[in-house]
């Protein structure tokens, strides 16, 4: 068995005649057969894990050290490592590392390895998000499940889990928290040497399929239709006249009437306690459907008696409600399935934030209006139900984000939309936030943003921040955006700040509108301390942000 270990290098001192090792390293961006001292212990520990978990004494390891001169790992280096492994006709490629950004070239070279009867194993993301190549459908993704009793457990057709505890490696006086999925991957590699090693001519993928129900596939067999269906709410708006009841009740002030869907004819005036026509401001009841929209992420309760009171209308509640769930009328990420990432063409503008309640929808609508006025075909996407008022495609905010599926789903949706519509640009308001803002949202809050970053190449990110944002924290979060390959970030300062008295609220923290003096001071402070362009809401309204966006895109 010949195994390629594409990693940070194996230390010669640690081999101890355990097996034959050939050393390769990156020299001037090419893989050559030459030993280079490893940059850290990662590669060596993976090596030890492989050889100590196989009974075969007929193994040869190709140590492919892909660290570049500055000690970094680039996607091109991984690709070169795989190409070298194919050239060397290895049986298994072990890649206990990964990248969050999708690369078609990386996918293609993995495909080529598979066609050459080479099994690739790769470590799953440590953050439970996405990692390539592990999350490609032609690579075995290795996770850790500390609870499982089985040696190898099949999670799905391309994923297995291994029981393994995290542990610390000491090198001299320094301790490294060695992530376990890396070692789990190497351990699986060791096991597979035994499973696949006896008869080298066998189709390794058939053995994997029979023994572990692992079915790697190169061709996407799930994308049977290229049609993009409308979601339920779009069909209702197309075929009915609608009155809307909005929560919060001041929501209407945020929506530009020019953008309003033509079949939304009336709104409920919470003060007058009746439906009012958008057209003439007079009471109006001649519509067929009442849509109750809750735009906040707090669950609302509406009286059970609504249906009796409005018996002549179809009543639909969209958003977070305790006792009603009509969110099947919205788009659902799970509807869109794929097993590979498609290349998207239209530029993507993403609106994101560090907390909820920071005017993301205001900014989206302001830009949307300007872009449409310029005659551009903008595909607008949001998780905020208010989007349905002005022709935005609204996705139900997922209760649980499953990676990598969510990434493929988003990409698939965008691909289908591009195939079926003429789109000049995407304007996406991503629900949730980039990072943790209090102790109660340590997990799901912000993961959707990660999924979008992996699913689409985002050209411009508009980062909405609260006035008391800590600049160091903001820089850290922006680094997160840049790491995902986002080239341009504009900061938009919200009028709302986090109310510290709500830090321990069960429903998450709340914001409140700060006064003008504090807002002006915060804007000045941010402008003086951030390299990125900072916009106030007034500047957004006046068109400065729009002009900068257009300038960047063109």
């Amino acid at each position: 068995m010949k195994i390629a270990l594409i990693d940070t290098g194996i230390s010669k001192n640690e081999i101890n005649n355990r097996c034959e090792v050939r050393h390769f390293s990156l020299v001037k961006q090419k893989i050559v057969e030459e030993y280079k001292d490893p940059g850290d212990v990662h590669g060596t520990e993976c090596f030890k894990e492989i050889v100590s978990n196989t009974n075969s004494n007929q193994i040869q390891i190709l140590d492919i050290n892909i660290l570049d001169e500055s000690g970094d790992i680039q996607v091109v280096s991984i690709i070169s490592g795989i190409k070298k492994s194919i050239e060397e006709k290895v049986d298994i490629i072990n890649i206990s590392l990964g990248l969050t950004a999708y690369s078609q070239e990386l996918y293609d070279v993995c495909e080529k390895a598979m066609q050459n009867n080479i099994v690739m194993v790769s470590a799953a993301s440590h953050n439970n998000t996405i990692s390539f190549p592990a999350d490609f459908n032609n690579v075995i993704c290795v996770k850790v499940d500390q609870q499982q009793t089985e040696k190898i457990k099949t999670v799905d057709h391309t994923t297995v889990s291994i029981p393994m505890k995290d542990f610390i490696i000491r090198e001299k006086d320094t301790e490294f928290d060695f992530s376990s999925s890396s070692l789990a991957c190497a351990r699986l590699c060791g096991y597979l040497c035994d499973d696949l090693g006896s008869m080298p001519l066998n189709d390794k993928f058939k053995i994997l399929s029979r023994k572990y129900n692992i079915k790697l596939c190169g061709n996407d067999d799930m994308n049977d239709s290229d049609e993009l269906r409308q979601c339920g709410i779009q069909e209702i708006l197309l075929n009915n006249r609608v009155g809307v009841v909005l929560f919060p009740s001041n929501l209407l002030e945020l929506v530009n009437k020019d953008l309003m869907h033509k079949n939304i004819v009336a709104y409920y005036d919470h003060k007058k306690c009746e439906f009012i026509s958008f057209k003439d401001g007079l009471p109006k009841n001649d519509f067929d459907v009442i849509i109750i929209l809750n735009s906040s992420y707090i669950d609302l309760e509406v009286p059970e008696t609504i249906k009796e009171k409005y018996i002549n209308y179809q009543v639909i509640c969209i958003g977070n409600f305790i006792n009603m769930d009509y969110n099947q009328y919205l788009y659902d990420y799970n509807e869109f399935k794929a097993s590979e990432i498609s290349v998207l063409k239209a530029p993507v503008i993403a609106v994101t934030s560090l907390c909820s309640g920071l005017n993301k929808s205001d900014i989206q609508f302001s830009l949307l209006k300007s872009l449409r006025q310029d005659g551009l075909e903008i595909e607008s996407v949001s998780n905020n139900p208010i989007g349905i008022l002005c022709g935005t495609n609204v996705f139900n905010f997922p209760k649980e984000l499953k990676f990598p599926d969510i990434v493929y789903s988003i990409n698939r949706y965008m691909y289908l939309a591009e195939m079926n519509k003429g789109i000049d640009a995407w304007l996406i308001n991503i629900g949730g936030a980039i990072g943790q803002v209090n102790s109660l949202n340590t997990y799901n809050f912000g993961k959707l943003a990660d999924a979008y970053f992996s699913a689409a190449n985002i050209d411009i990110a508009l980062m909405c921040v609260n006035p008391s944002i800590d600049v160091d924290n903001l820089k850290l979060q922006l680094a997160h955006l840049y790491k995902h390959g986002i080239e341009k970030v504009f900061i938009v300062l919200s009028h709302n700040d986090i109310d510290p008295t709500t830090m321990d609220y069960r429903d998450g923290l709340q914001t409140y509108c700060i006064d003008h003096a504090k807002y002006t001071a915060a804007a000045e402070y941010l402008k003086n301390n951030m390299e990125e362009q900072v916009f106030t809401l007034e500047e957004v309204e006046e068109g400065s942000l729009y002009r900068s966006v257009i300038e960047t895109l063109s």
């Binding site: 929560f247 001041n250 306690c273 800590d470 321990d504």
Partner: protein
């Protein structure tokens, strides 16, 4: 030492720096007496020179513009005192002097006042995550008709909205008909219950001095049997610890089928202190292992949250507002029978400073300013207090901040902080648990 304190938890000794919100373990207090040792300590621990004078800057966080904005969109609650009348005469009740005064006529809330208070809540809560209407008394179930009218008023005038409802009751009138109404309207119930029969009957008595336990217990049991799930999710208890904490009380409370328990420290009214049973103090000093009682242990860990927040926060500032003040006019608004809005139900409603508006004109920013100014004035000495950040002071205390209050508060903070540093801060499981507690 300035804005700092040596915390002796029994097992360990710490020095806590309130200004920088940091702490270090020390061997003995003597480390601070010897100049050389003290200098070494400062260098080794990168500690502030706590012998150098300093003080907090005490400031109110919200401007009037911000508060006005909240009053137009983020009001969260109205608590309606439907009546001053009550069917019990609990001896520690703040209304007892009124009940004893034959010349005082006990007032009732009119429908007009109730509806106006409701309108303020409903019209000004459109951005609030919470919209709550509480019925309070006296005994609010004496005014079940008005409660029904309020709920119907909301249902008719605001057909698309459903606030959450609460009733705080002594449970004497909690009969079959009432519990049907409560379940139908999804109302949360807060029952005042002081524990086992002997404790409940001691001070929670009717006009003739008869204990209320039998009636109350029977009603609670019947309510539970009618719908255990509803009961578990919607019934909480208020327990007044007139005799302090005891194993007997904790055991009986812990065994209740309930969603939560609020243990309330006795507010010692003059009336009550004169007739209080002198034997009440007899159990003082009884050792209680709080971990034995699930509800008490959870309550205690809730109290640890502010320490966790403080030490895990990103930054600290010398500008603070001591204590745990809520935003007046937002979270709690106590509406008296005659329509005055008081900052919360726990304060003395007869003190003018606590009045923040009325149902006819809404929240009055001038009255809010008066309250805030008085609060800041009364907290002047907090600038020099090492315990200010963790003090439990709130509006109900601002007229009573004397040395006794401050000493007790500092003792409480010292004990809690010691517990946090000894037991929570070093236990990863507990840190996780405390981090995930939501207080509201």
């Amino acid at each position: 030492m300035y804005l700092s304190k040596i915390i002796n938890s029994g097992s360990n000794m710490y020095i806590y720096d309130a200004l920088n919100n940091s702490f270090a373990t020390i061997n003995s207090e003597e480390d601070f007496l010897d100049d050389e040792k003290y200098a070494d300590f400062l260098i080794n621990n990168e500690f502030r020179d706590i012998k150098k004078p300093c003080k907090f800057d005490v400031k109110y966080s919200y401007s009037e513009d911000e508060l006005n904005n909240m009053y137009s969109s983020r009001i969260k609650n109205m608590t309606l005192a439907l009546t001053e009348q009550c069917n019990l005469r609990c001896k520690y009740c703040g209304y007892m002097p009124k009940y004893m005064d034959d010349n005082h006529s006990l007032k009732e809330m009119s429908k007009e006042v109730a509806f106006k208070a409701i309108d303020i809540l409903m019209m000004n809560s459109h951005e609030s995550e919470l919209c709550n209407l509480s019925f309070y008394g006296g005994e609010p179930l004496l005014k079940l008709d008005l409660i029904t009218e309020c709920i119907n008023y909301i249902s008719n005038k605001y057909p698309f909205r459903k606030p959450s409802y609460n009733i705080t009751t002594n449970a004497v009138l909690l009969d079959d008909k009432v519990t049907d109404f409560i379940i139908k309207n999804d109302i949360k119930i807060n029952i005042s219950l002081d524990g086992p029969k002997e404790q409940q009957n001691k001070y929670r008595v009717d006009c003739n001095g008869n204990g209320s336990y039998e009636k109350v217990y029977h009603n609670i049991q019947a309510f539970y049997q009618k719908d255990p799930k509803f009961f578990r999710e919607n019934v909480t208890y208020n327990v007044v610890m007139f005799n302090g904490a005891s194993n007997e009380l904790y055991e009986s409370v812990d065994n209740l089928w309930k969603s939560n328990v609020n243990m309330i420290d006795l507010f010692p009214t003059e009336y009550f202190m004169n007739l209080r049973d002198k034997d009440d103090d007899i159990k003082k000093g009884e050792k209680i292992d709080i971990r034995t009682y699930d509800f008490a242990y959870k309550n205690m860990l809730k109290g640890m949250k502010k320490y966790y927040n403080s030490f895990s926060g990103v930054a600290c500032s010398s500008t603070i507002l001591p204590g745990g003040f809520c935003v007046p006019g937002v979270r709690k608004n106590f509406v008296t029978t005659d329509g005055r809005i008081i900052v919360c139900e726990k304060v003395d409603e007869n003190q003018e400073v606590f009045e923040i508006g009325d149902v006819y004109n809404g929240i009055d920013i001038n009255k809010i300013r008066r309250l805030v100014d008085k609060t800041l004035e009364s907290m002047d000495k907090c600038k020099y207090c090492w315990a200010a950040k963790f003090c439990k002071i709130c509006f109900k205390d601002i007229l009573n901040i004397n040395n006794e209050f401050c000493e007790k508060s500092r003792k409480d903070v010292e004990r809690e902080l010691g517990y946090y540093l000894d037991h929570v801060n070093t236990d990863r499981g507990l840190v996780n648990y405390v981090a995930n507690i939501s207080l509201i």
